[in-house]
Amino acid sequence: MIAEKNKYSFRKVIAIEDTKIDQYIIENTMKKCNFSENLILFGSANDALSHFENVNESDEELPELIFLDIQMPRMNGFEFLSTMNEKFGRLKDKISVVLLTSSLDPIDKATSNAFPNVKLYLNKPLNIEKLGRVSEMFC
């Protein structure tokens, strides 16, 4: 059981990503390096919000990390963060956020600084080396 536990860097991770191909990359890269025991993928920010509305606030239920895309239709990454902090303010200390984006716009980077629970800003594509940096940071 202990060996099983050590196999994964994280117990539960959520990724919010609208494009199928990037979902595929996230899922398979994480799988390759045993990044998380449990990965939940949401195709939109709204789906993720609904998930939090229904979730039990026990530590087991909550994810340790959220990988969040910025550029998404209807609700973008920053709008999600605002709504999340507003609706589930008590969660913001418990869940760290990693922004995963193809944007090079410095404004995006600067905006991300406004959210304290954003711990890391990563440029796409996600790969094993980048996941390694995340693991180093949190474990």
Partner: protein
């Protein structure tokens, strides 16, 4: 008439010998008649007749001699007689000498001698002649053979005291009735020295006068009215004929035909004036060949006959004033032009009283508003002002007080007679205090054209701004949307790498990866390009060292395979530095990545060094490498857009162009030194925008 009375002939012979003085001839002829009459009426009493006739001629002769002598003295004319030389008489021996047979007293005096003081001979007369004149006289005497009966000579005499006398000698030659040969010369000798002197004086005075007139700058013409002929005209007068049909052709009088018809009409009045003896001025035009005119300004001076007061002569003095006339005309043309211009494009002048009624309005208002000045004089200005502008207009004129010389301007709309709105700019001065004006001077200019274009211009600028904003958005959105699928492709490639059986495709995959990297670099450069050309600068307080660290970290991450290039930094940066970090990022990023990309593979220790020294004024940045270098001919071109020195696949041809744009955007300067296979040094100066920022 021959003298035939024998008694008379006898007496004459007693008194005069063989020759009777020529001046006595008429008298002798009369005597001849008297003798003949006496003889025929008193034939029986011959003695008485003889007695009577014997006493009377002697008495008369004496009387004649006295009279004659007086006449000769008074007229300074002597008489003489000269016997022809015997040898010249055909058939005669050459034995005898010619000799002077008679000199009157006056001849002696003219020669400067006492009358009768010397014996008469040819030597007395000839030596006093000029040698030149002597020849002439001898020639004349010789010519007498050819039956010349009369001749005149003028010559000079040399007096003993050295002075000269001019004499006129008039000679009559007498011929023998029988053989026709010349017998004697009888003549007069007149002293004309004084007359000659006066003549000479007169001549030289006249010459002087003529010379002055001749060389006078003004044209001069002396005209004899009675005989209708020109007495004198000078050189300048000839210029009147230049370029006319009469040039070098006809007499001066014909110039009258050249006077233009318009000016001929004035001639009648002119002549009447002259006939009264008044001096007159006459300006007239001479018609030229080319259809033009020569303007002459003349002054005419009449001379009237002292007896009957008739106009005898006119002197005309004229100046060519064509140039003045032309200049005059040009000035008046220009004046007209200016006036025309003023009225065609100029301002409309209105004078307003305190109720803003139009007390005066200039003619050109018709062009502006369609009204005749009379139509609207007395009306209130408000009647023509656009409703929306009325309040402003009233307030504007209320504020214009006397004595304020500032230009007060307001643009508002006036209504044209046809109902159109005309945008006007009005400049107003209060001149109520000026009795000539007594109101507000309002100068009105039509600016409808500018107003129309102003609106157009504003909307054009708005449109451009909008398009520009859209374009910037467009570039960043497109760039992002292009990058997102690219990064996905990269991600998939990374996943393929992780598969065990990927080895068989490794070459193909590496090409694919190269293309993706190149496309991604190009998109990044495009994004930067739009930043450099379009965005406004956003200066902020920056730490140059931090910016450099970020760049190198990022580059290390992106160029993991090139880590053998050693990075050195040398930063002296203790001041507050203001600049746009995006621009500095573009500069550092491109220069350092170039240094890494073009490192020299044959160098043992490739490096790139960045030196930064910043102060209150500026920052000096140097990027130095020991890479492959840039050849001289390429150094000029490397900053051009899309210029690529090598065939390196990853270059976009935009890197150094972006650097240059960014440096220029920051008002900085960039220069480069490089040598092939030795290395390259870029030196950049960027101003500290601290002052601009505050």
């Amino acid at each position: 008439m021959a003298i035939n009375n024998k008694v008379l002939l006898h007496h004459l012979k007693e008194h005069f010998g063989n020759s009777i003085p020529i001046d006595l001839l008429p008298f002798v002829e009369k005597l001849n008649d008297v003798y003949n009459q006496n003889e025929s009426s008193n034939n029986t009493n011959g003695e008485l007749v003889k007695f009577k006739n014997k006493a009377k001629p002697t008495e008369d002769c004496e009387k004649l001699k006295t009279h004659n002598s007086l006449i000769q003295k008074a007229s300074k004319t002597g008489s003489w007689e000269f016997d022809y030389p015997a040898h010249s008489i055909p058939g005669h021996n050459n034995s005898g000498d010619s000799h002077v047979s008679y000199f009157s007293d006056e001849v002696y005096r003219i020669l400067g001698l006492e009358p009768g003081s010397l014996d008469i001979n040819k030597d007395l007369f000839f030596p006093q002649l000029n040698p030149y004149d002597l020849n002439l006289i001898l020639e004349n005497i010789a010519n007498a053979d050819q039956k010349i009966k009369q001749y005149q000579e003028e010559h000079t005499l040399k007096m003993e005291d050295g002075s000269e006398k001019v004499v006129l000698k008039q000679s009559d030659i007498f011929f023998d009735k029988g053989n026709g040969s010349p017998t004697k010369i009888i003549g007069t000798l007149q002293d004309i020295t004084e007359k000659k002197k006066l003549e000479n004086d007169l001549q030289s005075t006249k010459k002087k006068k003529d010379s002055i007139l001749q060389n006078l700058f003004n044209a001069y013409l002396s005209y004899d009215v009675i005989n209708n002929k020109v007495l004198f005209s000078n050189l300048a007068f000839q210029k009147v004929f230049e370029d006319t049909p009469l040039q070098n052709k006809t007499s001066e009088a014909s110039f009258l035909s050249l006077i233009s018809d318009e000016d001929k009409t004035g001639a009648y009045t002119l002549l009447r004036k002259l006939a009264k003896g008044e001096t007159a001025t006459y300006n007239f035009r001479i018609l030229l060949n080319n259809g033009g005119f020569r303007w002459l300004e003349s002054r005419l001076v009449p001379t009237l006959d002292s007896d009957d007061g008739r106009l005898m002569q006119i002197e005309l003095i004229a100046n060519d004033v064509t140039a003045y006339k032309q200049a005059d005309k040009r000035i008046s043309d220009v004046k007209n032009d200016i006036q025309k211009q003023l009225f065609s494009v100029g301002e409309v002048v209105m004078v307003l009283n305190e109720k803003l009624q139009l007390t005066y309005i200039s003619e050109n208002v018709t062009r502006l508003m369609g009204f005749m000045p009379d139509e609207i004089t007395g009306s209130a200005l408000q009647r023509f002002v656009h409703h929306d502008d009325l309040e402003n207009v009233i307030a504007f004129y209320k504020n214009i007080v006397p004595g304020n010389n500032d230009e007060n301007r307001l643009a508002y709309r006036l209504r044209h007679k046809n109902g159109d709105d005309i945008w006007c700019e009005c400049a107003a001065h209060n001149m109520t205090g000026n009795p000539l004006i007594g109101g507000i001077i309002n100068r009105v200019r039509d600016i409808t054209f500018f107003k129309d274009h102003e609106t157009e211009l504003i909307s054009a600028v708005d449109e451009l701004k909008r398009v520009n904003t859209n374009l910037e958005d467009f570039v960043s959105v497109v760039s992002h949307d292009l990058r997102a699928p690219l990064s996905s492709m990269q991600g998939i490639l990374d996943l393929i790498d992780l598969k065990d059986d990927s080895v068989q495709f490794s070459e193909e995959l590496s090409y694919l990866r190269g293309s993706i990297t190149k496309l991604d670099n190009f998109i990044i450069d495009l994004l930067n390009y739009s930043k450099c050309t379009k965005s406004e600068l956003k200066p902020e307080s920056i730490c140059l060292e931090e910016l450099l660290d970020q760049t190198t970290t990022y580059l290390k991450f992106m160029n993991a395979q090139n880590t053998k290039v050693q990075f050195r930094k040398n930063v002296k940066n203790g001041v507050l530095f203001y600049s746009d970090p995006k621009m500095i990022n573009i500069i550092l990023n491109n220069l350092i990545s170039n240094a890494i990309r073009y490192s020299n593979p044959s160098t043992a220790a490739p490096f790139v060094e960045v030196k930064i020294i910043a102060n209150d004024e500026n920052a000096q940045i140097e990027v130095i490498d020991n890479g492959i270098g840039i050849s001289k001919e390429n150094q000029e071109k490397v900053f051009d857009i899309f210029y690529r020195v090598t065939d390196d696949n990853n270059g976009t041809g935009m890197g150094l162009h972006l650097v240059k744009l960014a440096v220029e955007k920051l008002s900085g300067e960039i220069s480069l030194e490089s040598e092939n296979n030795v290395g390259t040094k870029f030196s950049i100066t960027i101003p500290n925008m601290l002052n601009n920022h505050n």
